[in-house]
């Protein structure tokens, strides 16, 4: 590696900070290592791997593609190693590096799936994989947006999990009582906002340490929903825990597109809202007065204060708006999937949303992409489990967490949050 570095021209060094250089080299090394692992796996890969492009019940049936497993894995390994070398070389412009990252990433996934599914009786369901990814990612995207808003304003939110939980509970109960999913959605949003208000009161007004607070709010949410579930909902589940489900809304025309149509354009309102929310939050944060002020308050509250921006006011607004998104995300767990609430139904998704937020470096679009990636991995784990593959699905499910640890340790890209994130503002 040192010889590579020595060969680099001085001008390029000027433009690359030490952090960036370390990140680039570690990313390259990681890719090469992954490629090497794939290459080793390829020696133990026999038979063929089948990819089914359509589900059994799709209107338009696409063919099932079968590839020879061993050579495919080898090819992927070569691509991954090549893209890693591009990173290590570092002489190429940013565009080439992005291309290398994309190629490397896809090759890793493809090579890995090909290895895992090789020799299986059943084909790998591609459309199922994408549909599942979208379903799993929907609440993660919404939760991550909540975090994006709070943390850009300087309020650390580790209570997304608690917000999810209360919103999921509220949606189930209100949906059951009113029989209306619309009412349930509004109630969930309200619940998310109220939990946000709790975060805001204690962190902004009473200056409670925000991490402590998040942990306690999560316990509170778990205790409250758990108690109400045991006391009230469980004994009357017919009346209180049998909410109607959100129906998929097919977008005319688009939903008829083969393969992509059913995946992207025949979803529940929550999916469409999540997509729109990403655009909306991006617009809000980067294109409006409100967003400028929110970000200034999260980065340098004193500077904002000296030009007359109300630091506390902006933080309150951001946390409450974030609560609305967390509320929508929470609703997904009940009325967006099975309809019924069970205790601790969100099983750590709030923390995965937090991980997506950090991996996405506090930016709504990148956070959403990371949420989709985490959804993809989770869905992959459950698919591989049902195919009986050599890779234990439990280990695959750890990937989002492991990736986040690697990210915050600065191995892949510098992860820098808003400068004043978590710092209470005392005038």
């Amino acid at each position: 590696m040192s010889t590579v570095a020595a060969a680099r021209t001085p001008e390029l060094d000027v433009h690359e900070s030490r952090d960036a250089r370390r990140a680039r080299l570690s990313a390259g090394a990681l890719l090469v290592a992954l490629g090497a692992i794939l290459a080793i796996l390829s020696t133990r890969t026999a038979g063929a791997t089948a990819y089914a492009l359509s589900g059994y019940f799709d209107a338009v049936q696409l063919p099932t593609v079968t590839v020879p497993a061993g050579p495919t894995v080898i090819a992927c390994a070569v691509l991954v190693i090549a893209s890693g070398i591009v990173f290590l070389a570092g002489r190429l412009p940013a565009g080439a590096r992005t291309a290398a990252a994309v190629v490397g990433g896809i090759a890793v996934v493809l090579g890995f799936i090909t290895w895992a599914v090789a020799g299986s009786q059943l084909p790998f369901q591609v459309s199922n994989q994408f549909a599942g990814t979208i379903a799993l990612a929907t609440p993660l995207v919404l939760g991550a947006l909540c975090g994006v808003l709070c943390e850009n304003a300087g309020v650390v939110n580790v209570a997304i999990e608690g917000q999810f939980l209360v919103a999921a509970f509220t949606a189930a109960v209100v949906g059951s009582v009113t029989g209306s999913t619309t009412a349930a959605l509004f109630a969930a949003v309200l619940a998310g906002v109220l939990m946000g208000a709790m975060l805001a009161v204690f962190s902004i007004k009473y200056l409670v340490d925000q991490v402590v607070l998040g942990v306690v709010i999560n316990l509170f949410a778990s205790g409250l929903t758990g108690f109400l579930f045991d006391q009230l909902v469980q004994p009357n589940s017919g009346d209180l825990n049998s909410s109607p489900l959100l129906e998929p809304i097919a977008i005319p025309g688009l939903s008829a597109i083969p393969f992509l149509g059913p995946i992207l354009f025949n979803q529940t309102i929550l999916f469409y809202l999540a997509v729109l929310s990403v655009a909306f939050v991006s617009w809000l944060l980067y294109r409006t007065r409100w967003g400028l002020r929110v970000r200034s308050v999260g980065e340098h509250p004193e500077a904002a204060d000296t030009v007359g921006v109300s630091v506390r006011g902006m933080r309150w607004q951001a946390v409450l708006l974030g609560g609305a998104f967390a509320g929508l995300g929470g609703a997904f767990f009940t009325i967006g999937s099975t309809g019924a609430f069970i205790k601790d139904i969100t099983v750590g998704n709030g923390f995965i949303a937090l991980a997506a937020l950090i991996m996405g470096r506090w930016n709504p679009v990148r956070a959403a992409l990371m949420a989709v990636f985490f959804g993809f991995v989770t869905q992959l784990a459950s698919q591989l489990q049902s195919l009986g593959t050599p890779m234990p699905s439990q280990l695959l499910l750890m990937l989002p967490y492991l990736a986040t640890v690697i990210a915050v340790a600065g191995l892949i890209g510098r992860s820098r949050g808003p400068a004043a994130d978590g710092v209470p503002f005392v005038k």
């Binding site: 580790v158 009473y206 340490d209 402590v212 509170f220 778990s222 108690f227 750890m398 340790a409």
Partner: protein
Amino acid sequence: MPEPQTTRGSFWERHGRSWAVTAMSIVLALLVGAIVMIVSDPEVVTQYAYLFTAPQLPLGASWAKVSSAYSALFFGAVGSPYALAMTTAQAAPLICAGLGVGLGFRAGLFNIGAQGQAVIAAILAAWVGFALPMPPVLHLVVAVLAGLVGGAVWGGIVGFLKARTGAHEVIVTIMMNYIATGILAWLLTTDAFLRPGSRDPISPPVEPTAIFPAFYGQFHLGFVVALLAAALTWWLIERSTIGFAIRAVGANPRAAATAGMSVGRITIVTMVLSGLLAGLAGTQFALGPGGQGVPTPLSAGLVGTVGFDAITVALLGRSSPIGIVFAGLLFGGLHSGGLAMQSMAGTPVTMAMLLQALIVLFVAAPGLVSAITPYLRAPKNKSLVGGQA
């Protein structure tokens, strides 16, 4: 980060007030809990239709509901020697993990990872307990040590990453919790951790030689170990050179570095010790005898939410080992009382968890407690000791 520092000076002024805030927080939490109980019971709520015509009906029903729940809670926590024994068993892991979190606080570190550290420790302790037959005493000692090492390593990784790369320990520990949980879930699919011929994700029972011996009911050696751990932790923080460095780094890392202490090394040492104490909590779950006199076998939910409960314990105990012992006993009582509340008064045990969260919420915001109870308000700008020389 909270930096619960012991500011010396007028002992009573400081501690008296914090006791008062704690007591008031408990009262407030019980009040809120009572309200939640009343509004969530349809039978009681329907009585409120008569609030203006026959107020004794709703008020009586409310009183009956709340008083039966809370008296069951009280009885289940301290009402009998058996209940007390159970409270000690519930408190033991809370004290251990609380000590770990509290030690982290003293060094300015936020160990949210007690959960994962306890899980790893429980895995190792239980595995030694069921898979490696050994003579009595030795078996228990080895099993406990295995757990301690597991917890220490799991915490040490976080300390190492923080010291070397500056990775924020809050994020890393949260993620490490899930990684630990994932490892447990995976291990419970492997033959080494399953009962022969079974695919249920439950390990074989721990051999009797590796169980903490019980003295009375569920009162077992583990609780004594927890108290010893508290005493040792107290000594470590207040009387040892390492503790001195930990406190210095927690209070002013720059001054500590200027005085020749290595902040990175102290960070790692603190996380190792913190993980070790959380690991001790994990061994309490893996090796402590339950209601039937044997430990619950290793399974997905074995350690419950001990890591998060530990944070509440450390906060309530204000990071001092003595405070943590009391806080652990309080929440241990809440847990065992909660079970009694469920069986005797039909009030779900989750109420105990809610109360716990509420108590800490109030304790963490003394400003709120003071706003509700003005006479607790602190005198402003009053210097504790001395003046300008």
